[in-house]
Symmetry: D2
Subunit: 401 residues, 4 copies
């Protein structure tokens, strides 16, 4: 066993699943904030890979500040049009020169943004429906990082920062997370009328779960108000069915409740996202690293998307604490809820946090003392393997929003 | 008594003051994220006031998306210079025409930004050290709000959203909050060498509090390394003295711990903010509405700065829940900690939340039942007075970051 | 015969063909100034056509202010890369609302720019190698123009302005113009190594013509210095052969004379244009409406590209005067050189200029008096048909640079 | 006598003063194109001076591409307001690093722009009425120029280019040039109601000169339509009086002839320039280097404003040819009109042009042969002193527009 400062203790209070009121939110792939998260993270991955390819190590960069300025549009049944394009400004720092080699950081960023937009938003034409601009400066020159192909030394923390993760997800969390993923996955493959801008709010009071969905419809696939109503109904039924896979509680699903058919006010878009009409967005304003906004749980303010995964401690610790929580729950029986917090110490190796703190709600008949040693061992093992988080981020295996 | 859905219940777990580990952070006035918060909120206030002056009511707007792109600088003892200006893009929506009157929203925004920068950042020349650009579109036309001079009807919630507030502040929270305010207040008046970009992290473990300060120094007031060291020492002593006013616990203060005098790596700036050199920023990424980042407490992801205070429910409920918590603690004895949560119901009047939830840790010898009625009455009263939050925001009496 | 104020008189001095020294320049399709001209004019045509399609008439617009900010690149034999993208800002005015209809002017502009770039610059990826941004405001609302499908009333001049045209082209002019068109036409179809940024300077002293060509080569088609030298040689031979079709004078062709092979300084690019590396551009800085820069002749400062062809008198009169000059030369024998000048009178119908002035150098044995009547009739006829200029511009039949 | 290739010959045709029709235009200080010229040239001077101060020599730069995007405004008697700010983008190239020294080129550019705007446009608040942005890249690194404090070697021509100048000015030219300068000089000092955006068109037919003035009035100094009419009348009378100092011909002055008092369409502005409302601008689109647009004379397309005065041959030769023409006319009797053309030879010293060509219309009784030797000597002397043009540009003694 290492000398890492790992604490395991009972959590004060009830597991979230047992609390009376629970609120869970997820901003889907096409929400303006998520668009920014997605571009920022995709740019980050592209930069990391290019640095590895070109100079054998990841150099200093951070691209966690994409800003989206909404456009305007005139959606119409059967197909409307974008009047003013969405404007996206990719902001950040990236090393442009290394031992004589020029790294085309802005070109890399723009290509990554194009790839991300074209892959995920088929109705949004890159360069015309959305203008993507870029301002990547260089940061302090002395921050070149070592994350090479041969050497995987453990970097030092660049800041005093904090990460937090939980497991397992509650039923409400699972429903909110999975509903969005499935809607933007298998469902939309068969239902092109559903845009990517889907926002879900789950509210559980006791044993009743209300899922409120705001789902942008794409006008070119919606010919009239009847088709719209059918599209809304389809989403409602799909989400309801999906929810019952995760819970036995009573579930009610509400879709596009702000619609007013008499006024003709419905959630119809040309491109599938409200970014086309008045909704701005930026990185780090939406989902936390586990894909959810969970006011019942501790959250970190850190914007993980776009940050350098080699030594940006806020990003690493948020992803790592979630990974640890999941590993513990999977491997150890008797845990109803676990929260992992990692607090860095600036200048110290990131595998040796100032404190790693596990707070546990055990199941009936299990005490924290029973499992403390097992939990500690897992936390220790995962901390020792911290650099695999970096690898998985670069490979796109871990999502950040 | 109204029919509002108000719940008062004991809080699960310990008061934060009694937890073993507590972490508190504050990004000071000149931190790039706070610069954005401040500009966004100042622009918002200016727009609200101009709408009232010109058309007698606050019209639809939201200016909560300012993006800052860092510049570059060459600080030097005795005075360096900015090489590339900071770029700030004010983003949002604002109604530009109302009953034939044209509202110069972009001019209002730029003037507010200028006023804010010139008032708060004397070393940062508006227009040359920092370029401020603006992209204010118009949102959906049907969202004109009623918050007139004669009529103060209670608006309806524009979203399903959530606000949370706490009282009282813990010692560590008070120290972190007050230290920054005093450093950027009376202290800097006498010490022009201290820049506005001050970041504080308070960490309490049991009865020991460590306050870590990163304080940008202004090069034109620092002639050499000795002067720099003296400036660092002065800050440390000042914060230590101030901290002892709020706690009897052991306090240690660390200032600019990342400095490396041998390498000549010190926190010296030309303009007093790291925005001059590589640190980007945006709204809503830093302090919560109470001025702090408090991972030990429930937090809302909502970016309050820049939002319309008339009907943006996320902004109002975050500010209101804090105000309620403070009112309860001031008026009711026996409370060690209270958390107020307000959950809106889209389309319902904002003075009638879906649920208003008060969770309380009482002092020894007091039970929640003893004070429940009193607390409920205060919550009810404050909810009834919700529009005063709007007024106080417009008048600049409430801070949002 | 009309009452138009048409004057025909002998030109003072020699025909340009007979002058001792003649200088002629053409900036080819891929020169940064020409890229701007081309985008601006293509955007203009697209707007005019969309206005006609949507509301049956061309509304007020002007898009004659595109600005190009150069990028940076690292060309290399076999294929280099763009480091920083080119940035193009389309600037202008365009009516966005007409009788309730919304015209998506910015979307139209961006799509036209994309089409133009993709058609003409195959190596320049729209959106990544070149970022195209747009700022189209609205001008004064009262300037809506009448150029409808049913009504073709003659508009009034919007300004006191001036157009000038000449015919026929001198040999040097023909060589310079045709060499660029053929190089960017049939030649480049077979020689992908030749970029679009070709600049030609023709200088004739007496009976010797020197043609200096600066031709950007595309690195992905050039494997080494030998291939580069061969590419240069091919261009030289092609231009020389072409020149001899237009003249019996002695011709020498110089290609990429600024190259310094020892220093490795050659004109190699990644995208085929110097816009990739340090050469900015804007509308109206290069070729005049006849495609040439001709210091030996009267020239107008007017930037024709991007201007509204319905009533922008500077554009119309420059194109019309050239068309008149060409018509006269084609139809009337005995003319060695003709210059047509048209001076507008603000507020008057554009088919009735303040003065239409034809200055003629006749061939030996012909006097101006002999042909005056014939010339006057042609000028009169062409003026009466002025609106066909508008049609031909909208249809893309007339080039502006 | 040197070996310079200087030719002196009779000009074909009449002196402009003797031609039947003459057209002369000047865009005043506040015209959007001139604003761009002025900022570009002021930025250029500032860069040149800073380079000299910091590294003892002028390094490579060119800042000849400023783009202005018009704003919108709501002028009103007694004082209106800017609705959307003017946006100015300074574009160019400038060396940022020299022997380890960092040159803050963007800061220098922005400060120069601020100084220029504040000095010349008192109604235009820098940073709020007009946003000034900057994109200064670096050009090719090998183009560092030698124009040091100790060494004044003659640089080589960077291009094959062409300059042309004339003297003396005709009466119409003098009237147009001087009227604008006096209106924007002594007149406006006493008449703050006159804005800086003054455009003059002089048209002479035989012995009658029509001067058409478009003069922006500043609304805060104009209380009603009577005051406006008085302001127009004052300008008309002033220009008429001034014109009579330069000519005995009949002069008629027309001011703001496009006004339509019945429609309320008058030339009233809030800031004194049409840039506030729909008129975009850019460098090199307006006045030639001598301050005028003169279709009766040879003109160069070169945009002189903003170009590097050390070795940008187009700028130098346009200014130098004008200076030579003026010197010849001042020193040599018997000249009615002279035109100087200078054609560079790329790579050759700029004091040794490929050809320097003087075309002269002599006064009655004087032949070119009489004065050829004298003229040649002056041309030769001025060419030898070419670097003084650079000095005078840097010192702001020569205007470029």
């Amino acid at each position: 066993m290492s000398n890492r400062n790992i604490r395991v203790e009972p959590m004060a209070g009830l597991a979230v699943e047992d609390q009376e009121v629970e609120i869970v939110e997820r901003k889907g792939l096409g929400h303006p904030d998520s668009i920014c998260d997605g571009i920022a993270e995709h740019v980050s991955q592209a930069l990391a890979r290019e640095y590895l390819d070109r100079v054998g190590k990841v150099l200093h960069y951070n691209t966690d500040e994409t800003q989206l300025v909404a456009g305007s549009a005139a959606p119409a049944f059967g197909g409307g049009e974008v009047l003013e394009p969405v404007y996206v400004l990719i902001v950040g720092r990236a090393t442009q020169t290394y031992q004589g080699a020029k790294i085309p950081t802005e070109t890399i960023a723009l290509r990554a943004a194009r790839e991300y937009v074209e892959t995920n938003f088929p109705e949004l034409e890159f360069g015309t429906d959305v203008i993507v601009d870029v301002r990547l400066g260089e940061g302090s020159g002395d921050l070149q990082e070592v994350f090479g192909e041969e050497e995987r030394t453990v970097p030092s923390a660049n800041d005093t920062s904090f990460g937090v993760g939980h497991a397992p997800l509650t039923e409400t969390e699972q429903i909110v997370l999975e509903a969005e993923r499935h809607l933007n996955g298998e469902y939309s493959a068969d239902h092109p009328e559903l845009g990517e801008d889907i926002k879900l709010m789950g509210k559980r009071e006791g044993d009743r779960i209300d899922v409120t969905v705001a789902a942008a419809m794409v006008d070119s696939y919606i010919d009239d108000i009847d088709a719209y109503q059918e599209a809304v109904r389809d989403v409602r039924e799909y989400v309801h069915d999906l929810a019952t896979e995760y819970t036995d509680r009573e579930v009610e699903v509400h879709v596009n409740t702000a619609d007013d058919y008499d006024e003709g006010a419905i959630y119809l878009t040309t491109t599938g996202t409200s970014a086309e009409m008045g909704d701005d967005g930026s990185v780090g304003r939406g989902n936390r690293a586990n894909g959810l906004i969970t006011p019942n749980r501790s959250m970190s303010m850190e914007a993980t998307s776009g940050k350098n995964p080699v030594n940006h401690i806020g990003k690493i610790y948020n992803l790592l604490s979630t990974a640890i929580a999941e590993a513990v729950v999977e491997e150890v029986d008797g845990i109803r809820e676990i929260r992992i917090r990692l607090l860095s110490q600036i200048g110290q190796p990131i595998d040796d946090p100032h404190v790693a703190d596990a707070a546990i709600v055990t199941e009936d008949g299990v005490s924290v003392a029973d499992i403390e040693q097992e939990v500690t061992a897992i936390v220790d093992r995962e901390l020792a393997d911290v650099t695999s988080i970096t690898e998985r981020v670069i490979d796109g295996e871990l999502t950040t929003f």
